[in-house]
Amino acid sequence: MFYIVFVALLLLLALTVEAARHDLGRWNFVVATSIAAVKAVLIVLYFMHVLRSVQITKLVVCVGFFWLAILFTLALADYWTRDWLFVING
């Protein structure tokens, strides 16, 4: 199993490097982070065998990433709306 995961990770790595050779506009960013996320999930589930862990461990993993999402969402909520006022206000 570990070997299969490892090969999958290498393939994903090749994919992401290849994708970076093409100009996909802002999709470059999306593709690169999505692939990274898939890799991370593989590592978490198999190498760190969260798949086999008890419920509470799974919960902690999810909570960790959920909190990260809170940090990003609310902080970016500020940055992305900063110049709205100007548009309305002139």
Partner: protein, 322 residues
């Protein structure tokens, strides 16, 4: 002179002040109500159910469904009250930070530990701000070093003054007189001495005061001079486009297409960045030709350049008078 008698409530000297105070009194009402409620209940229960009192009935009441209703009540009632406060506060906030069109624009530079002001006609002053009565005044502010905060308690306004970015606030004075002006954001040793006064005078007196000082060029005029002195004119002709450079007239407040596909609004911060870091946001279709003027112009000169560029602009569509 600033009225420095003892008082328990601040003066109201701007159009905003009574409105903020109204919300404050509402909040005070809510707070007093709940404080008194809780305190009264504690005292009442403490007396009635004190250990020594053998006569009182302590048989457990049928909690359960009844208690659940109570719990819901004291969640919903505070929720409703607080949503009211939120909506009220938010609408005022929106008002506070949205200067009305046509406000008198005073430019403010904060630095450790003084306030520098420049009026639209060019007159400067330090640690004092003269403004006309009954006329909206917008402050366009930036800091040369750390974060400061412009605070005039009698007007109930405050806004942080940031390095590297413009911020603004506005007020309309309703009472002539002198009022405190404080720096409210801690900015180092003499933070508490970074104070001044706002002098509200009749509009006619304001005009007279403007005339009284030694004459400075209005910012837009000074900006025009700078525009020539700094050789901006070699590339940018004041009106219209050359082949090499984008036009600067009709720029402020409009949408600009960038080379990376994004669109931004040409606001103060954008113009400032275009001068200091021209490569950061390239206008689509133009080369990275413009040199950076970082270090060659200070904040006050930047403000003047901006004033000039803004003066070239025809009003943006959204800026149409209300």
């Amino acid at each position: 002179m600033i009225d420095d008698g003892f008082r328990l409530f601040p003066e109201q000297a701007s159009t905003l002040a009574p409105r903020v105070d109204a919300l404050y009194f509402f909040l005070l009402g809510v707070a007093v109500f709940f404080t008194v409620l809780i305190a009264a209940l504690i005292v009442y229960f403490s007396i009635k159910y004190r250990r020594g009192n053998t006569k009182v009935d302590r048989a457990p009441s049928h909690e359960g469904g009844h208690a659940f209703g109570l719990e819901i009540t004291w969640m919903v009632v505070p929720l409703v009250i607080s949503m009211t406060i939120f909506a009220w506060g938010a609408s005022l906030y929106f008002l506070e930070y949205r200067p009305p069109a046509g406000a008198l624009e005073v430019r403010v530079v904060g630095k450790q530990w003084m306030w520098k002001f420049q009026h639209p006609d060019g007159r400067r002053e330090i640690n004092a701000l003269h403004v006309p009565l009954g006329q909206p005044v917008k402050l366009m502010m930036i800091s040369e070093d750390v974060i400061h905060s412009m605070y005039v308690p009698a007007f109930r306004i405050k806004r942080d003054v940031l390095p590297g970015r413009y911020s603004s606030c506005w007020f309309e004075a309703t009472r002539a007189g002198e009022f405190h002006l404080f720096c409210a954001e801690y900015c180092g040793t003499n933070h508490s001495r970074m104070i001044g006064r706002v002098v509200v005078v009749e509009p006619a007196d304001y005009q007279a005061w403007l005339g009284g000082g030694k004459s400075n060029l209005p910012p837009a005029e000074a900006g025009k001079r700078l525009f020539e002195d700094l050789r901006c004119v070699t590339c940018h002709v004041p009106l219209g486009a050359t082949g090499r450079c984008p036009p600067l007239d009709n720029l402020y407040g409009h949408q600009v297409k960038l080379s990376n596909g994004q669109t931004v609004t040409a606001d103060d911060d954008y113009l400032r960045e275009s001068i200091l870091q021209p490569g950061a946001k390239l206008v689509v279709g133009y080369p990275t030709l413009m040199p950076s003027f970082d270090g060659q112009v200070d904040e006050e000169q930047l403000i003047q350049l901006l004033a000039y560029i803004k003066s070239l602009a025809r009003p943006a569509p959204a800026e149409a008078p209300p």
